[in-house]
Symmetry: C2
């Protein structure tokens, strides 16, 4: 399709980055459709951009050079669920919520939850993670194998269903997080997990960001296998109270979840409570009731919508960084000080067990000065994270928005190695060009 | 050094593969030594082969085209242990045992244990794993960042100390398992873990391989976070009884280890016991005493030496494959049948939680027919694993010994992608050439 409306829907709409539509959108129904489209584009040197649900945050789906967008959302079949092997095979257009609805009856789940109901193909390509990553890892850790259409239209398979292999280069991990710049994922084999016998959640207020972060470090060090450990700063707690009609103390707060046996989650919660108390946190409120847990985590997942209440009319611009956990309190505190000094409205939420946190900036998009200030803040945030030995992005990816930090983070040598790989696998630079880096 | 003895010591000595020494051995004391050596070799088109402890099993350290072996064993400093971040930074010549001796006082450990006291550089390069991988993953999952000297002598850094990142291609995972064909690792940042509060072990006999494997599947599916779950077939149990003076029933047996809190390991052991009983296994013998646990795991780790008793004068040739766990019993049973049919002496041990198992063939190296039979058996083993959706090697790597299976496992397309990456990063093919694949 080539109508303006469809083309614009299939480009970036989530952030401050401009909407740069492709020249045409192809709706692929099967792998052969993808191969045919790529072959035609390759013959004419036309860019190819893959599309899932359009929830990426750094302009990954934009078409700055035009070209063809391949919408994979109709390739949404779950091809196999192998419960004995705890794995499944699916097409890239399956969304994470639908996958989990499908798996529930079999007592299985897929843990990675990047907030939005993204497609698994998009989650593979941006190396997504989310609240459960502290226990279950990121997409990097949960993809067993991929089928990928490469720049010449060939279909390759990157692995097997075996749980581990030492047979050659790890192509799977090369395509995970490559943002469609090396090929288009058309089939995914994922690890699955049994739904835990027991799940409990806890909410624990702290006097400060630092005490909350110190409690997180102690919790992780002590080996408590927390499934989720999320920080909300007092600004975000206030927003969640208003949006989700909660009555939490408006102070830095940890949201926790424990997975295990009934006795196990009880013990984990107790151990955590003792650690929290050591750092002046608490009292923790625990819950094992599914409806209370759902309400809590819905409030956490609605942080973005809640934040919008803080500045009516503004648009939310989410960004993320990740630092070694020992630097987390410093990084969050310095970031909060910057928010105050710059007069911004920007709650902070974090997957703090990984050292990863987000700021959600409320920006008046019609005010050029306001947007410029937001960009300045984001640049300082990344520089702060890099100076602390961290990364420019824990889970949102590079896309267009963070390309400018690649050399600072990786050094020219590593960036040249990435470029060499890109040239080797996509010599005519047709696969999602001008994302991650330019050639 | 260029003496024949030193050169031969620095090539393959562990298997049936020939000893193919380099022309000279350089003992690197620092990263600059590696860079200088690589630059000189690059200028003259001379191959460079990295060396750690020489424990690899597929000829990874051979020099079929001659060249320079860089011995990294003197680069053995632990540069930093960051206990708050649960990570450490070290040079590639540190061995895993020394690392753990160093960490013990701080209550930390590094779990990956490929049997031999390999260097961490070698473990990175062969994507090593071992008995703990079912709980802690393989080297792929436990390396945060690498410094690598590439084919042009440049030093690149592949990541940060942040726990996760979505910033560009995953160069770390590309070098992990590349067997030195893309560059030489000169610094490694590893994840660490707190030594568990409690560790318990168990030994559980089963009436058959199938029942033991079914118990393993049920254990993994139930979510019991087993730290180790190892299968020894009756042949290996017999050998261990003789070598380690144990008195285990000579039947397929699972060796288990549980990590957690005192209450947690007790609960895990009880849950496992109930599952084992369902499949006719047991009674389990449990132990929480360190000396009893050590004796048990020493016996497991000495499986190789024990196996040598089964055929005095023979040499042990170890090989491994990995299959989806649902096919494990079939694969092991078919392999045992083949061992019997071919009249071989070959105990089986397996990291069965991952679907990975080893056969240790007792071969009379002076008897060409005996060696030919062993090779025939190994080829059939790999073909069997591939036919079951598995991989040619779970943890030993490809080296020279398994190159012939790369196309069958990966397909020509994926193998071409690997070759393209190799050419891009090592255009003159000097980094450990003719390993994994030929160009």
């Amino acid at each position: 399709m080539t109508t303006t409306a469809v083309r614009e829907q299939h480009a970036n709409v989530t952030t401050y980055l401009p909407n740069e539509p492709a020249d045409a959108v192809v709706f692929a129904a099967c792998t052969e459709d993808v191969q045919t489209t790529v072959r035609i584009c390759a013959a004419h040197g036309v860019p190819v951009i893959a599309w899932g649900a359009g929830t990426s945050l750094e302009g990954q789906v934009n078409a700055p050079r035009g070209g063809v967008c391949i919408d994979l959302s109709r390739m949404n079949r779950i091809l196999a669920v192998n419960s004995a092997d705890l794995d499944c095979v699916l097409e890239p257009g399956v969304t994470r919520k639908r996958l989990n609805e499908d798996l529930r009856d079999q007592g299985l789940f897929f843990p990675i939850d990047p907030g939005a109901d993204a497609t698994l193909g998009g989650m593979v390509s941006t190396r997504a993670s989310g609240t459960n990553a502290v226990r279950y890892g990121t997409m990097k850790d949960n993809v067993l194998s991929l089928k990928v259409v490469t720049a010449d239209g060939r279909l390759i398979t990157t692995g097997t269903r075996a749980r581990k292999s030492a047979a050659g280069y790890d192509l799977t991990r090369l395509f995970v997080g490559a943002e469609g710049t090396l090929g288009i994922v058309t089939e995914i084999t994922l690890k699955l997990y049994g739904i835990p016998e027991a799940i409990s959640s806890a909410v624990c207020p702290f006097p400060s960001i630092t005490t909350a972060c110190d409690a997180v470090i102690a919790t992780i060090q002590s080996g408590i296998p927390v499934a989720r450990i999320e920080l909300l700063d007092e600004v975000q707690v206030k927003a969640c109270n208003a949006y989700a009609r909660l009555s939490l103390a408006e102070t830095p707060t940890l949201f926790m979840e424990f997975h295990g046996t009934t006795a196990g989650v009880h013990e984990q919660a107790e151990l955590f409570g003792a650690i929290a108390a050591e750092f002046g946190g608490g009292p923790s409120e625990f819950s094992v009731k599914p409806e209370e847990r759902s309400r809590l985590w819905q409030a956490r997942h609605d942080a973005y919508w809640a934040a919008l209440l803080l500045r009516p009319g503004a648009k939310a611009v989410a960004t993320d960084v990740c630092v070694p956990i020992s630097r987390l309190a410093d990084c969050v505190e310095a970031t909060k000080a910057d928010i105050v000094a710059m007069g911004l409205v920007a709650p902070i939420v974090g997957h703090v067990g990984d050292g990863n946190f987000h700021t959600v900036l409320m920006v008046d998009m019609d005010d050029a000065a306001d947007l410029a200030k937001a960009k300045q803040f984001m640049a300082r945030l990344v520089e702060r994270a890099l100076a602390m030995g961290g990364t420019a992005t824990g889970e949102h990816g590079i896309g267009q928005g963070k390309m400018k930090y690649m050399a600072a983070e990786h050094g020219e040598g590593a960036l040249d190695a990435m470029r060499a790989i890109k040239r080797a696998l996509d010599p005519h630079n047709i696969m999602n060009p001008d994302k991650i880096f330019t050639l």
